[in-house]
Structures are given as C-alpha cells and as structure tokens.
C-alpha cells in the first residue's frame, strides 16, 4: 500500500431538493509518474490513483480516469444535483490494487 494515503471530501450537510451542490475531493497520494529515475538511474515504478468515482444512492455521478501526468495529491471538484436525501460514496482506485473510499450524507432542508 502506498504510504500516507488519506481521502478528504467536502460536501454541504444539507441541500434543497434538485439543487446543484459543489463537491470538493482531495486524496493525499504521491502520484509517482513512472517517468522519474532515482539516484542510481533506475526507473521509479509508476504508482498512481488511476480511477476516481462518485455515486449517489448507488447511481453514478462521475467516473474519472486519471493519468500519470496528474500531480501529487489529486484534487477533483465537481457539481452534483441532489434529487433527494441520501449518501455520496467516493472511491479511489490505486495502481497497486488498493481501493480507498469514504462517504458523506446529505439531508434535504
């Protein structure tokens, strides 16, 4: 497992039904591109988050493919419409097979 990986998410606690809210996500990850070499000249193997998804009550909101050129600690911000009270589920997929996830509830009000 890559070290120091920690997902962070910011979602408003409440929203009006049908309102578009801004969701901010960030995961601390070194995003090693696979292009760099260490002091001995050996290639440092690629190790990145290659996919990010967000679901709301089981329905896909966004599904992102991440590429090696993306910087350390990828930050993804997007808008989502909230039709009803429910839960956003966020998932990040690591090259090494690890999956990190977190969830946030949104109430209508």
């Amino acid at each position: 497992m890559a070290s120091g990986v920690k997902p962070r998410v910011k979602v408003p606690k409440t929203a009006a039904a049908g309102e578009a809210i801004t969701i901010k996500t960030l995961i601390s990850h070194k995003m090693e591109s696979g292009q760099r070499k260490d002091k001995e000249g050996n290639v440092i193997p690629r190790s990145i988050i290659n996919r990010f998804t967000c679901e709301f009550n089981g329905e896909s909101v966004i599904d992102v493919t991440l590429e090696p050129a993306i910087s350390t600690n990828p930050y993804i911000e997007f808008d989502a419409t909230v039709p009803e009270a429910g839960e956003f589920k966020f998932t990040w997929y690591d090259d090494d097979g690890d999956v990190y996830d977190t969830a946030k509830k949104v109430a209508i009000g």
Binding site: G4, K6, R8, K24, L26, S28, Y75
Partner: protein, 284 residues
Amino acid sequence: MKFKAMTAIAALVISAPFMASAEADDDELIVNDEITMVTKTAAPAHLADDVDEIISGWHFRSDETQIMQADDFDNPGMIFVEQAMDDWNTVMGSKDKSCASCHGDVEESMVGVRTVYPKWNDAKETVYTMEMQINDCLTDGMGAEAWKKSGSKMARMEALISVQSRGMPMNVAIDGPAEATWEEGKELYYTRTGQLDLSCASCHEENYGNRIRSDHLSQGQTNGFPVYRLKNAKLTTAHGRFKGCVRDTRAETYNPGSPEFIALELYVASRGNGLSVEAPSVRN
C-alpha cells in the same frame, strides 16, 4: 488602422491584470469565513524610518492563489498539518512518549506559540527557533532522534503548531537578551551577498511590488511560514526560503539552522510584528 486599434486593445487587456497582480492589492483575507487576517498594518517602531506599511506576501499573489488560502479544504498545506497531527500523537523514542504525552491537545497547548518565536531561551542562553525547541523535545524529552533541520517532518510540525495561532498578531521580542542576536540579523539583512551583490533589502525593502523576472517581489514577511509553495508542492520553512534567496544572489548560502539564519529569522520576523500568523500560507 483597424489592426492597430485591435493590438492596442489587446495590449490593454493583457497589461491590466499584469499591473493588478504586481502591486499589493486591497483584497481581504478571511479564512474559513471565521478568521479575519491582518494582512496590512503600520510598520513596527523599529522599522518606521524605512517602511510605512507592512504587507503580507498574500497581497502580492494572484486571485487564484489567494483564494486557495481562504479555505482549509482548498489549502494544500493543510494536508501536511493533518500528517503532523498524526506525528503529534505518535509515541517516539526510548521514553515511550508522544508530543501529546506532555503537551496534551495541540489545539489548546500551542495557542499563541508561533507569535513569539524565535525567542530567547533562558536555560540555554541563546535565541531559540521553534525548530530548535521541537528538536530539544525529541532528543531530551522523548529520547528520540532529532529531525532534519527544515526537513519535511519538521516543516509540517511547525505548520501544525503555527496553525493554532492563526489570526493572532506576530509579536517577537527584540529587546532584552535577544537584542544582540536581533542586531546580527539586521546586519545580515542589509549586507549584500553574491555575484549579483544583493541584500535582502535590495529586493524586499526597496523593490517590493516590482517584478523580478516573471515573479513579484513581496516584502519577504515570514508570518505565513511554513508556506505551501505551488512550485514544489510541499511546505517550505523560513530557513529553506532564506537559503533559496541567498542562492539566488549567486552566493554560497548559510545552512538551515545556522546561527546566521537564526538571527535573520528573528530580525525578519520582527519586521512583521503586527501581521497575523497565516501559516500554512499558499504562495507560488
């Protein structure tokens, strides 16, 4: 004619944002809609002959960079603060202690600490930076190994401690036993170094608000340190920045943690007495 008019308009459009971003702007910094920062204020008495107003480096950055600092989620420096929080609670060294064993909750015990460092240490009879105090805690208090000066672990612990003083005014003491060190720092500040023959004052006192190549010169205030720099995506300490500046004058630099940089840190901090602690600030 039409072509000329178009170029003139284009030139205007391009130059306007340029001008706006080189000078210190009049924006207001409120972090998390809670903490209103003092980012401009009257210069402290010792500086009044040379500078009228002291200005945080925040004012010299573009709007996009400024906004990042206004919300902890958008501020990438806060990731390192979170990591340091883990360090704070981690038991290290032969005495089976963590920082929390002695100091408890960092959010209570470290309030205001950042505003007075560097400060005179009575027992050691020298001026102490926060970094020296942290390393003393590690070696003497915890029986652990000292951290690398200005290294990443040190920078993020300084950030964690500094964050507890956010919004409080910088207030380092320059009289009493610290005065001799302060004078040394002042001497260094006005001493030209390197092939380019520049002192700190050449850029940060005489030319702040102007450009140096493609960058904007700030007053070189340290109230935002450790600072998250977009150019290398990590925290930079004051000594790390000093080293970069001296190197840019094409001189051999002093090392982070050296007596020269400790004196300079005290002096530069005193030039910002009155500005709010902003750490971890976001700069380019």
